[in-house]
């Protein structure tokens, strides 16, 4: 009986749609604030209703990015916090259990660490590890969240940047590699999550900026030169979902080195765009067939960084 009442409440709160998955689905995203320690993690329904602050900043601590497989389950959170001595700020990875509000460090504070995302089974995470040096170097590492053991997935290279990992259900990790050759070039690569050969999915001439796997892991959506495109991983076939030209020249895509796109079980894609004229950061939804693109939320208090759809 209680379960039925819960469904009814969800139905009414969700705008009276019978699509149960859609009712339960939420977009997890963060806003990178325009001032120190003003970074939030939010969730919102795909129809733009029910905005909820999942993590609110504290005086010496804020939340840059969160990754989770469900709203109630543990979240991998990148915490931006004041370092001992109070003169600098560091990012640390934590495993947060919302039900008991328990925070656990994933890695020792001295270990290079940056934002990360959970594996589909929730047992591991891939994260950016930036070493201090000149020039700085970033590697991609995978940590087993049950044992705390960390291994290198992609080695650092002084002349190449590594950003924006995405973990698909078929055991592959995609990531953006940047390098300079007559300007900043970007390419999208994919490799097995346990290591191995790297495959180029999108070459530098197409300017990939961010990517997210489809729920079945067989396709990947990418923001690139022409706009939002879907790449079939078996055939390499590509189709444009949202043409850059169709949304106007006043919009740009601002990458934050992590996240940026998400793909739902219901076939919707979430992305954030920056409206240059107003400085508003906007959260957009578009169906994977390209239909019904719409803005569902906007703010000038920070830059929206899409993480993923969760239930």
């Amino acid at each position: 009986m209680l379960a039925i009442l819960g469904e009814l409440a969800a139905f009414l709160a969700g705008g009276c749609s019978w699509g149960h998955v859609r009712d339960r689905e939420r977009i997890l995203f963060s806003t990178i604030g325009t001032r120190l320690f003003q970074d939030y993690v939010f969730s919102i329904r795909p129809n733009g209703s029910g905005l909820k602050a999942v993590l609110k900043p504290e005086p010496n601590r804020s939340y840059m990015f969160a990754s989770a497989n469900s709203m109630s389950g543990p979240m991998l959170v990148t915490v931006h916090e004041l370092a001992p001595g109070n003169d600098k700020v560091e990012d640390h990875l934590y495993f947060w259990s919302p039900d008991v509000d328990n925070w656990q460090r994933v890695l020792p504070g001295s270990a290079p660490q940056g934002p990360g995302i959970l594996s589909p089974d929730g047992n591991s995470a891939v994260y950016c590890a930036r070493s201090v040096g000149s020039p700085p170097e970033t590697s991609l590492r995978v940590v087993d969240l049950r044992t705390g053991e960390s291994r290198e997935l992609v080695a650092a290279d002084s002349f190449k940047g590594l950003y924006l990992p995405s973990w698909g259900v078929l055991g592959k990790i995609a990531f953006i590699r940047t390098f300079r050759s007559g300007g900043l070039r970007t390419e999208l690569l994919e490799m097995p999550s346990h290591g191995g050969e790297q495959t180029v999915l999108v070459p530098p001439e197409d300017g990939a900026m961010s990517a997210a796997y489809s729920p079945d892991g067989r396709e990947i959506v990418v923001w690139m030169k022409e706009g939002l495109e879907i790449v079939a991983l078996d055939s390499g076939d590509r189709r444009v979902v949202l043409k850059r030209a169709s949304i106007g020249s006043d919009y740009s895509f601002r990458s934050w080195g992590m996240g940026g796109l998400a793909w739902s079980e219901e076939g919707q894609i979430a992305l954030s765009l920056l409206k240059k004229k107003t400085g508003e950061s906007e959260l957009w939804i578009v169906n994977a067939d390209g239909s019904n693109p719409k803005r569902i939320y906007a703010t000038t208090a920070g830059q929206i960084l899409v993480s993923q759809f969760i239930q």
Binding site: R35, P135, G183, L184
Partner: protein, 99 residues
Amino acid sequence: MVSFEAPAENPSDQSPVDGVADSGQKLSQVGSGNGNMDTFEGYTQGPYGIDDHPLARDNANWQVTGNFATIFSPAPCNVGQQTHFVPLGGAEFDETCRV
């Protein structure tokens, strides 16, 4: 400071840049504020391209410089410099390298 670079293929987009030297100098104090530093130096850090200075005085006018020559050789864009009022609670200075 937050440092970005416009990719060659998508010049209207922005990608964060790691390792840009940033420095700041307080020009004038407007009223009482927080912090105790009148100058700062540092490097933006990946993957966000952010360098925070929590002890820099707020409620003051600041001149902030971003020098991309620390990561580019030769530097494709000039040193960026901005002068802004920083209110109580702080402010963000964005520098974007466009080739």
